[in-house]
Symmetry: C2
Subunit: 217 residues, 2 copies
């Protein structure tokens, strides 16, 4: 759920410090709640997050949001639009204060062609993104919400970040009402702790429950 890319971050640190072209890279800061990128806009920079957490989401015309990922250190965004000049697909919104490298499209394109390492990092990043998006789209479509919610809470516990409830619901593509209802059911089954939304099981027990969903739906 919170993607990071240490290799990309490391590359940028090196690149800005040691290369002449690195001077074209600016560092921008964004307050929590502001957007790095606005869906539908045409942009001229690619961002690589240096610090902070953002959410990447589509706002549908009916007013609902669908969050794809939370992006942290080293994640790149605006890259799709840098590679194929199209309007921005998603909103990228800071949910904590964010600082990011801003790379002009000209430099971005130049790096893709002239820097093998950068090109490689970009390819791998795109591949990871496709894999994760596909895996999630599939199980959110084919398993009950309870299953997806448990997986989400497990991830949240591993990385210890706190995501607003509203955003978790949007990540699952459901309403807050459904989200709350499912939480309550999990509590009544003693899978979550009585008040909060923490998983009240050992890793092993959790896996056993997830497996049960998978064995027969």
């Amino acid at each position: 759920m919170l993607r990071t890319n240490p290799a990309f971050l490391h590359f940028m640190e090196q690149f800005t410090a040691s290369s002449a072209e690195g001077e074209a890279v600016a560092i921008k800061t964004f307050a929590a709640g502001t957007r790095l990128i606005r869906q539908g806009d045409t942009i001229s920079h690619v961002y690589i997050i240096r610090e902070g957490i953002t959410k990447c989401y589509i706002e549908e015309d009916n007013g609902k949001d669908y969050i794809f990922e939370f992006l942290g250190k080293g994640e790149i965004t605006g890259d799709l639009e840098g590679i194929r000049k199209e309007k921005c697909l998603c909103n990228i919104e800071a949910i904590t204060p964010v600082t990011a490298y801003a790379i002009p499209h000209t430099l971005f394109s130049w790096l893709l062609v002239n820097n093998t390492e950068f090109n490689r990092l970009m390819l791998e990043e795109l591949v990871i993104r496709i894999r994760q998006t596909c895996i999630r789209a599939s199980y959110q479509q084919l398993y009950p919400v309870e299953y997806a919610l448990l997986r989400l809470l497990a991830l949240e516990a591993e990385q210890d970040i706190v995501i607003p409830k509203k955003d978790m619901a949007s990540y699952l593509g459901i309403t807050i009402r459904s989200f709350n209802r499912t939480l309550k059911e999990l509590r009544s089954k003693n899978i979550l702790d009585p008040q909060g939304m923490n998983i009240d099981l050992s890793r092993k027990q959790l896996e056993e429950i997830l497996r049960r969903f998978e064995d027969m739906g």
Copy 2:
């Protein structure tokens, strides 16, 4: 829904015809119903479809399928696994007889590094795939099935291909029962023709109906 990539196909035709390295590329044929790639396998080739149509889908442990795309001429598959050596994410199954270029991973990697055009084509392909997957995941999650079904039927009419009902349902991530029910509702609203599943509206009328969904859900 049926993705194709003429530029990729064209590249392969040129490459196999004119380059020495092209000799490493084999042409394989697959009967309808057989798989080019099996989910979970480790593979050593990338395929580019020369002729025919395949479906790209994940089989979940609970027995349900989720189809991401139907892939036609010029589409590449096995590329994710060629870039990052991981187990296959999806099944690729021929739904018509298929012939495809089979490119060994060694050559694939070599092309990515040494052939700027190929690298470029690959980047663009990945970007397109991400965009489409994201867009679809979002609206399938946030709009009623009726909306997604209409969009699907509109696409099917444009390209004129026939997809089995079972597969259309899997593409939408729903059961055949729900699929039939929705068809019936659309017929009773005179949006589809009385017997079949063809859209019985002008392009304009259809867009009007889709817009209504988008304006308020």
